[in-house]
Structure formats: C-alpha cells, structure tokens
C-alpha cells in the first residue's frame, strides 16, 4: 500500500513536471495568463542582467561570473520566447498580444546576447552602454504582467 | 530463557551478531520444529534475503529471493540452530564466530575477493 502510493507520487511528479511547461490555451483569460507569465519570467532574466551589469560597472562582479549570469539569462529568455510563440492564441481578439509580446521578448533576448558577448570579451564600456537599455525593456515587460488579473 | 518472548516482536527482524560482534545479518525468518508432544517449538533462525523474500511473499518477495539465490549460488538461507544462539536482546548474539557458519555471507565474500581487493587501498581502514 505504502509502496504503491509512493510510487504513484513519483510518477505524478514526473507527469506534472512534463506538463507544466507548455499547454494549450483554451480561453482568452488562459492566454492572458500565459502572456503575463512569459513577461514576468523574461523580466526576471532582464532584471538579473541589470543587477549583474551594475555590479560589474562598480567593479564588484568578476568578468567570468558576469558572463555566466548573462549567458544563463539569455538562454532563459530565449527558451521562454520560443515556448511562448508555440502557444496558439485562442481567438483573433487577443492575437495582437502575441505579436506585441513576441517583439519585446525578441529584443530582450538579443539585448542579453549582446551583453553576454561584451562581458565575455571583457569590454566594460560596451557592457555599461548596452545595460542602459535594460530598464526600458523591464518596464515594457512589466506592462504585460498586469494582464493576468484582467 | 524462562522469560516469555514474543517471537514476532522481539526476535524477527533483529540484528544478528556473531560471538565477536561481527554482523551476520537479520533474523529473516524462523524455523519451527515439533517437539515430542507434537507442539511447535522454535528450532532455528533463518538468515538471508532468500528467507526474507519467501517471508514477504508476493512478486517483490519472490523476486528478492530469486535474485539472492542467483547471487549466492544457492536458494538455501543460512540456518542457525537455536543451540548456537547465546543471547536474545536488542540484538541476537551467537555463540560461534561467523566463519564457523557454513555459507554465511557468501555475497560479501565474493564481492570482497572479486571487487574490493582489486581496487587500490581497499584493504586499509581509514580510521
């Protein structure tokens, strides 16, 4: 009895892990939630990049560490963008959300990639220059996060 | 040994040590024999996954017994007659050394000779 219930638990965990990532959207509300989640997760990557580039500019974050953090942020952002685009918007009314968010997600990914390259090359000046763009991206993404409630 | 003993609670699944304190295994099952009056009395302890597997039964138990029999090369569990049991307490202590028990810890010896001694440093204790 014990054994079977535990075994069930483990297989359940695996199932949920697999299912939690991308699912179909059945309603507009559902899709809005997905938009908000994708925006929130991408903003997390952008904000991580903002904090680490600031620390790098202050001479606090060593180059290798910054480059690692930035490449992880880039990978996260690009995989979020990819799986977001795979979800079909359920109706034409909210089709525009897909286009709007996709373009912000893409520019976030390319910003993060440029930052990662600058950090890898140890180009501090270029890094600060590129980082100046991050707050703007972050606030753009923040606007999509409020869609979850609506 | 005049004390009343609940074999299910105080004997089964206890750790068995030999007379020098070396682990022999657990009391995996009990062997009952009939005395002169035809009443069942405790005759021996059975030790080893073969015995445990048969006791658990079902698919899991049979699989365990099967694998253990393959690994040990015999489907017979180690049988320790009650005469060789010295003391039953929170552990079961035998009056003989484990080396005197035929067929005890076969897998242990095989792994020791075939695997562990071949890895450098395997013979030395670290404390």
């Amino acid at each position: 009895m014990q054994e079977t219930s535990r075994r069930g638990l483990v297989s359940l965990a695996v199932l949920i892990l697999a299912g939690a990532c991308v699912g179909p959207s059945r309603s507009d509300g559902d899709y809005r939630q997905k938009v908000a989640n994708a925006a929130e997760a991408t903003r997390s990557a952008v904000e991580t990049a903002r904090l680490v580039t600031r620390a790098a500019a202050e001479g606090k974050a060593p180059g290798r560490y910054s480059s690692l953090v930035l490449s992880e942020a880039e990978v996260d952002a690009s995989s979020i963008a990819e799986s977001f685009k795979r979800v079909q918007p359920p109706s034409r009314r909210i089709q525009h959300l897909r286009e709007e968010l996709s373009s912000v997600l893409d520019s976030s990914t390319s910003s993060l990639a440029a930052l990662r390259i600058a950090a890898y090359q140890g180009d501090g000046e270029r890094l600060s220059e590129l980082a100046a763009d991050l707050p703007r991206l972050s606030s753009k993404l923040a606007r999509f996060e409020h869609l979850a409630a609506g | 040994m005049a004390r009343y003993l609940d074999a299910g609670l105080e004997l089964l699944d206890r750790q068995v040590l030999d007379c020098d304190g070396r682990p022999v295994g657990k009391v995996d099952d009990l062997e009952l024999v009939m005395d002169a009056k035809g009443a069942p009395v405790l005759g021996a302890l059975r030790i080893g996954p073969q015995a445990l597997g048969m006791r658990i039964g079902g698919l899991v138990g049979r699989a365990m017994a099967g694998i253990a029999s393959r690994l040990a090369g015999t489907d017979q569990a180690l049988v320790v007659p009650l005469e060789q049991v010295d003391e039953i307490g929170i552990v079961v202590r035998l009056s003989v050394p484990v080396a005197d028990l035929p067929g005890a810890n076969r897998l242990e010896h095989w792994l020791r000779d075939q695997v562990v001694t071949r890895i450098p440093g395997g013979r030395r204790a670290t404390q």
């Binding site: 483990v10 965990a13 904090l51 | 395997g122 204790a125």
Partner: protein, 409 residues
Amino acid sequence: MKRVLGAALGVFTAIGGFMDIGDLVTDALIGARFGLAMVWVTVVAVIGITVYSEMAGRVATITQRPVFDLVRERMGARLGLANVVVSYLLNALTLVAELCGVALGIELATDVHYLLWVPLVALVTFFVMWRLPFKHMERLYGLVGLFLFVFVVAVWQLGPDWGAMWHDVTHPSVPSGEGLPTYLFYAVVMLGAQMTPYEVFFFSSGAVEHGWTTSDLGQARLNVFIGYPIGGILAIGIQAVAALALQPAGIQVEHLSQSVLPVVMAFGKLGLACAVLGIVAATFGSVLETLLSSGYTVAQHFGWSWGKSMAPTSAARFSVLVIATLIGATALALTTINPITITIYAVYLGAASLPFTFLPILIVANDRRYLGEHVNGRLANALGVVYLFVVSAAALVAVPLLIATKGGL
C-alpha cells in the same frame, strides 16, 4: 582546552553539514518570491530536525543501532523494505542534486560548464570515501562550509530597514499575486529543505562511525542543539539577502548564480570567493553524506557490516553499493537533467517521507529496554509528537498541492 576545541569542531561540523544545495537554492528562491514570509517555516523546521536528530543520535550512541536498524525492527519486513527502497531512491536523487551543486559552485568561479566538473567531483568523492578518515572528512567540509556566513554578513551590508524586516518575519502574509496553495507548496519545500531525512540517517550512523558511547552524549547534543540552529540562521540569511536584493527587482531564482548575486552586490569579488568556497564545501559535504546514507540505509536494513571507518574489505557489500550508487548518480547527472528541478523535487519528496523515518525513532526513544535511563523526557516526547503531526500533515497535503499548483507555478 583541547576538549573545548574538540567540542567546537563538532559544532562547526554540524553547521556545515546542515547546509546543502537544497538550502542554497530554495532559500534564495523563496526569499526572492515571498520575502521573509517563510522565516517561520525555517524556525519550525530547524526545531523539528534538532529534536529528531538528537533522539536518533542518542539511540545510536547508547545502543549502536542507527535509524534503519530501528525502521526494520519496528515497521516489520514489508513496510520496512518499502521504506528502505523509497529512502534509498530519495537519497540517490539528492546525491545527483548535490553532485551538480558542487559542479555549479565551481562553475560560478570558472565559467566552465558544470557538466565538465561533475566527473571530477565524482572522482574526488571516491578518493575521500576510500581514503580520508571519517572525522577529517567531516571537519574538512564543516569548517570550509562556514564561509557561507558571508550571506549573513551581507544582510548588514545591504543596509535593510530592520523594523520592516522584523514586521515581515512576525506577520507573515501571502504576497499579492500569489495564491494560498502556492504559498503552502513552497512552505512544504522549505520544510523539506531544512528537515532533510538524510541528516537524521547520517547523524545517527555517524554516532556509530565515531564510536560514540554514553559519555559522548553531551557532545552529540551540543552538535545538534547549537550546530543546527546556527545552520538555520545561515538559511535565514540567504532568504534575507534574496528578499533585500532580488525581490524588489522581481527576480525568480532559477540558477545558483542568482543565489549568490546579493553577496556579489554587497561585497564584490571577495564576497563571491567566500560564497563559492562555502557552497563547494557545503555541497561536497552533502555529496558525502547522501552517498554514505544510501549505503547506510540498505546495509542496516539487511544487517550487513557497514561503515566508512571500516576497511572496505570488511564491509564489501556496503562499499560496493556506495561505489555503484556514486557511478549511477554521476551518470544521471550527466544526462543534462536540470539540477535545480531535481533539487526542488528531492527536497519536496523528502518532506513527504519524513513521518516514516520519525515514527520508529520516536517509538524506540521511549523503550527502556533499549535506552534505560536515557529514554525521552517529557519535552522530547511532547515535541516529538507535535512534529510527527506536522510532518504527517505536510506529507498528506504534498500530493494535492503538487497537483493544484502544477509544481509551484
């Protein structure tokens, strides 16, 4: 003087042994997401693990019977076997997470992909396991693990509003935008991160490995009563810096590199160096503890001879099982399975398995035939029973919560 030093070393070892990849990831994750609203869970969990480790350590010290000996005796062959199988698998899963944890720690300093470090970490683990005496092994990672205090010191450096922080700790609330099920899901995660079953297995088996006797009971108690709460302070420190530095930015922690970001912001390169040293030592310690615990649980169930302090030839089945487990875990880690996900699930399922570890300990700790005058006092029993209810409740809600929140989304 020498005695005091020895006692202090024991305590330091307990602190370092307390921390692992589960703490490093979940504390930062939860701090960044819920602020200080789960500090109370940490406090609850630390008291629980202290109570049960003390009990298990006392039983093992006096009777030389560690946890899985008792599990088999008290739960019988069938339930005992189910328990040992589940515990072994959970231990092995945690081992995978800890192996990756060491490698991720090294990656932080080198920017060389962690998968390249995993085999090297496994090799070093093998050498330590085979050659380094138990005591030295414990001290090695216990002492270096103290570098993690950089997380606690960073709280001051980040200059918090202490009044507001205290208010958040004492008036925990579910942050806006988070549902109650999600909050509870992470509360179970937090419980599991601080109350890891392997800590109890390891501490009780360690008492036998050390050859502790009744006269060492004082040291055993000192280790858990001081060491674990200080470990808990470390955990709260990690939560606090994440709450201060990451929460305002809306960062969701998904990498170890984000866990250390607050320390980098506070102390720069030196802070990062301390954090990396501490992380590598603490997770390496947990690699050894989970690996040994995998061997302990199975060997104790079947009554084999076991122990790291024995020559491997005197505990051949145990040694072979440990090596096989290490090889298997390394192979699993190399499949590029996400180490952070593994960590969270290992921690979560670990919390759900606690009642099955705690119940036999509580029963035997009350048995005079085993412990004589050292049976549980009233306080230990009262706390023991309360915590049995706490972990049973957590185990019962674990699966429904997992489904309701889709794994904490």
